[in-house]
């Protein structure tokens, strides 16, 4: 980890023709973008251009590489500078009264986060298909190679997360989903910490991706409910009547909790990973800020900064695993609570 920091320090050379803006530096490393910025050599940016795919109502389907946007615009498309669509690709359309306004086409571009999702899926497919094939071919032999690394983790998810929360009868139905969610979140958190390509994209720190995970958990929870679950929310027989009629206080609270639980799953994962990345990047940028004041201060301060950043990255490794564990644990608890057995009082 400490070896990567000097490489980044060399980029901002002795002549800093433009001022170092820490806000932009942090934002650039956290946000999604249409090209993958690898490094700067001198003042030349080395980026990997990524394909942009759009469907706009005015021009139909368009495919082009994002390197064509270097001159600022391509056809009628350009990156919006300010306004609602700042930083995103928009199209200039001439309205009915002759004024040009920006309209956002349907954007299916392969952006940085999408490439990172492909990389994570490829890693997961390679790892788990290898393990599954090895178990199928040699069913009763000792595990060999990569099976040794993942078998304890898979058994951990089964014995510590799935069975205590869902119960021994029903847990097998949910195991594929729990394992996928656990390993996807863990691998994407780890990949976000690695600074070199293909790691370093802020996948789980993007609220759209965590929202998809939370919506998936919400849908599966709602599908696997039985009738008593809804009876318990709307007409719980164990609470006094004045909480249900005339104003249904408890049903309102229960319905809010049905929606709040996935929302807080989404925000917890997003905020933890985003905060970890931001802290690491801010510590790095301290070197550049001090280096702008004087080169000696920059090099001298870098010793403390490297120590801090190594500590923060170790903490981020722990957080990567803990957040995957907490997300999977809470999802398993929600799946387990979906099937309710109400005690019916004998009157």
């Amino acid at each position: 980890m400490a070896l990567f920091v000097p490489a980044m320090c060399q980029e901002n050379g002795t002549e800093s023709t433009k001022k170092f803006l820490p806000g932009d530096f942090v934002m650039e490393h956290i946000q999604d973008s249409y090209q993958w910025h690898i490094t700067d050599i001198g003042s030349k940016k080395i980026t990997i251009p990524l394909p942009i795919m759009l469907y706009s109502k005015h021009s139909g389907f368009c495919f082009f590489l994002s390197s064509q946007l270097h001159s600022g615009k391509y056809g009628s498309f350009h990156i919006s500078e300010k306004g609602v669509y700042q930083g995103k690709l928009v199209e200039s359309v001439v309205g009915a009264n002759g004024a040009t306004k920006e309209s956002r086409p349907l954007d299916f571009s392969i952006s940085k986060n999408v490439v990172s999702l492909f990389v994570i899926s490829a890693i997961m497919l390679v790892v788990f298909l290898t393990i599954a094939n090895r178990y199928k071919k040699n069913p009763d032999t000792a595990p060999h190679g990569i099976q040794n690394l993942f078998e304890p983790i898979i058994i951990f998810v089964r014995d510590e997360i799935a069975i205590p929360s869902i119960g021994v009868e029903r847990y097998n139905k949910f195991m594929p989903l729990l394992l996928t969610v656990f390993f996807f979140i863990w691998f994407s958190n780890l990949l976000g910490i690695i600074p070199v390509f293909p790691g370093g994209a802020n996948v789980t720190g993007n609220i759209a991706i965590t929202m998809v995970l939370a919506v998936l958990i919400f849908i599966i929870t709602t599908i696997s409910t039985n009738k008593d679950y809804w009876v318990e929310i709307f007409n719980n027989p164990e609470i006094p009547w004045f909480l249900k009629y005339p104003i249904p206080l408890m049903p309102l609270v229960e319905i809010t909790s049905v929606f709040t639980k996935p929302i807080i799953l989404m925000i917890r994962l997003f905020a933890n990973i985003l905060a970890g990345h931001m802290v690491a990047i801010v510590f790095f940028s301290l070197i550049f800020i001090f280096g702008q004041m004087s080169a000696v201060a920059g090099y001298g301060f870098s010793v403390f900064t490297i120590a801090f950043t190594v500590f923060m990255t170790l903490l981020e490794l722990l957080v990567a695993f803990i957040q995957a564990y907490v997300f999977t644990m809470l999802s398993a608890i929600y799946f387990g609570m979906a099937k309710v057995e109400l005690r019916h009082h004998n009157k």
């Binding site: 933890n272 905060a275 907490v326």
Partner: protein, 86 residues
Amino acid sequence: MVTLGIILQAASTGIGLAKLGGAIGAGLAAVGAGIGIGLIGGSALEAIARQPEAIGDIRSNMILGAALVEGVSFFAIIISFLALIL
């Protein structure tokens, strides 16, 4: 009271109440998370001292509880950040 007057005077000249609110909110969130996780850690230590053979169970429950409490403090961080940005 005097410091409050000075702060309000500075804010009214245009430093930005939003930045002030955002920063104070983030600080309060840190206080909340610190108190919550401190309580969890303290009771975990007491439990380990009472029954050292249960240290494995106690440790995993402590980490789970700390992650959940931190999740709540992140709500406040997100809202302070939104106050700064929006």
